[in-house]
Amino acid sequence: MKSAAHDFPSRARAGLQNPDLVRAMARARTGFIDKRRAAVDALPEYPQLRRIAREIKEHTLQHLDYYLERFEARVREHGGHVHWASTPAEAQAIVLDVCRAAGAKRITKGKSMVGEEIALNEALEAAGFEPIETDLGEYIIQLANEPPSHIIAPAIHKTRDQIADLFHARHAQYGLHERRTEPTALVGEARTVLREKFQTADVGITGANFLVAETGSSVIVTNEGNGDLTNTLPRVHVVTAGIEKVVPTLEDMSTILRVLARNATGQEASAYTTLSSGPRRAGDLDGPGEYHVVLLDNGRSQMLGNEFHEMLRCIRCGACMNHCPVYHAVGGHAYGWVYVGPMGSVLTPLMVGLDEARDLPNACTLNGRCREVCPMEIPLSDMIRKLREREFDERLTPPRTRLGLRAWAFAARRPALYRFVTSLAMRVLGLLGRRRGRLRRLPLAGGWTGTRDLPAPAGETFMAAWAKRRVEKR
């Protein structure tokens, strides 16, 4: 998908003012937070598990080339193909070639953030294919022609009523005319429509939660079972995955799975965990005739060697956004790209460019709750701060902010000057606010006083009062 991250301020405003979003987010938030809390509390060994999971990832990243090569060799042994793509454009081209060679028309898709990263639907449609999202959330936003607003629950911003309207409008073509509102009825309706698509698809494209080096398997976890139909029914199965998804062994995968499910949805395990390790073998009852894995770099190998390398531990669980107050307030679409919330505020600038996404690292209170819950202990706040440093160094910080910061720092480095200026300012503010105890308006401080009163200062600073006290004490 094309980035709209530069539009953060206006998109954030739109989110803040959208009453449906406010309602949807309020419900989702408590659901995610409470369920995760309960799932984590129910597992006494969670802290150890989390540590081990983190170590597995860290170890793999240290030897990423080795494990990727191993993975590739295994896939080849099983008769599958591995393709390396360094950019989204390359990845698109590879997938399109595979689809063309297969003479495909209809393409079913499982939920994949890398698929969004490389704007696969747009590319497939432009090339004349018919891509169909089969994850319920992805299906909903595809019908609505919207990008995902959450990495686990892509349609989280939609209320049930909106979905009912959407299905009512878009399913008439299949002879489904009744407007249903019950969740089970809505799911049933989507099933009916999707069933026919599953049976007639030529290519199935999924993402991967893991790539297992030991066995050459790509692994997806879902709760709907749509992934299984996507990767077994069509003639060709294509996996798109970031290179950081590899883990050494099946054992490692299952360790991280336990952490992932608890943090993502508060489950002990997701309903379906599916391993694909190659095309159908002689004697197999089903499975695709061809199996392709597209490994995407898109800036990842560069991160491997720099101060952002810890971000590659991310397992896309979504816990950071579920606990982010800014994400709740503005919604996922404000971030303007695939990755949202705290992890998006780090990844988006690194993948689409800091100048394009310069607001994202700034729109953060550095409250640290994301880091606290992140199962991979990724220091998100520190990375966000590092991106601000980059902005400052590359002069992407707006001139007014820069100037203000400079002037303030000039004084803060010179105590005598600082004392002089601040005591004068506080005396004035103190006088202005003496009657009410607070100020309702203040020139140049509209950012504060637009919605908040400014508590008036006492007038005399602590340092001045303290100096007097010391004189008196003598």
């Binding site: 606290e372 440093e389 910080t397 601040t422 919605t451 602590f462």
Partner: protein, 264 residues
């Protein structure tokens, strides 16, 4: 006084020497918090001094990406506070800056890194210092109120401040503290964030205010003046009569005029 460390008051050499990091907001906006901190520390047996060369801990520069200035300010602060046994701040966020972030401003191995690290290890947030280091279990103060307590993010997550203020507040005569939902959720202050993204900040502080109001408490307490000014400013703008104090003022028994209240 029950909380005084048992040492003869004139045995000044044996008493911990504390350098008070006043913090810029307390210095400029609410000196009463600084004096409350001094009183609490002195009552607990410390010798308190306030280095005159301190200005601000440098967070605005550091969080604004200007690490050059942050480093320069950090050096000044380190020099100013090195002579003390402890550095104590009535703010989890400023104490966190010294403890968590100063060492990171300098490359490991450099002289300044070592000095920053040494100071970091002696730096504390006021209330946790009283409780965890000095072993203060109770205070002699009275304050008639039903209150609720907001956990500021840095205090909570960088300095581990959570139970200490609640335990000490429990010893304040006449005071009850009711928990609000999500007391650990950010209030939307975030330093310069609140003026850079005022609309988002306002939504966050509105959510915080709603949770405060839901407790029915007449008083809000907390340990960081930035958050408290933000919340008090919004409560006042929306005409909610909740009074707001820094926890140190209540513990020291000096809480008079609430934040943003007119003189009485």
């Amino acid at each position: 006084m029950p909380n005084r460390v048992r040492q003869s008051p004139d045995d000044a050499t044996a008493r911990p020497r504390v350098g008070l990091l006043v913090t810029c907001l307390v210095d400029l906006f609410r000196p009463a918090v600084g004096f409350a901190a001094v009183r609490l520390l002195e009552d607990a047996g410390c010798v308190v001094d306030v280095p005159a060369v301190q200005t601000c801990c440098g967070q605005p520069a550091y969080n604004g990406g200007d690490s050059g200035n942050a480093r320069a300010i950090a050096k000044r602060t380190i020099e100013a506070f090195e002579p003390f046994d402890y550095v104590v701040a009535p703010s989890g966020s400023c104490a966190g800056m010294l403890r968590e972030h100063y060492p990171r401003l300098f490359p490991t191995g450099a002289g300044w890194h070592g000095r920053a690290q040494a100071l970091a290890e002696r730096t504390h947030e006021l209330v946790s210092f009283l409780a965890d280091v000095l072993g203060v279990r109770e205070v002699a103060a009275r304050f008639e109120a039903d209150a609720t307590y907001h956990d500021s993010c840095s205090g909570l997550r960088e300095m581990g401040v959570r139970g200490q203020p609640r335990r000490l507040l429990a010893s304040v005569g006449g005071l009850t503290v009711a928990e609000m939902r999500d007391s650990d959720a950010c209030c939307g202050f975030g330093g310069t964030f609140c003026v850079k993204y005022p609309e988002i900040s306002t939504r966050l502080v509105d959510e915080k205010c709603a949770k405060i109001l839901a407790t029915g408490a007449g008083v809000l307490l907390g340990g960081d003046l930035g958050c408290l000014m933000n919340i008090a400013g919004r409560l006042a703008r929306e005409s909610h009569p909740v009074r707001v104090f820094h926890v140190a003022e209540v513990l020291a028994g000096t809480a008079g005029r609430g934040i943003g209240e007119r003189g009485r």
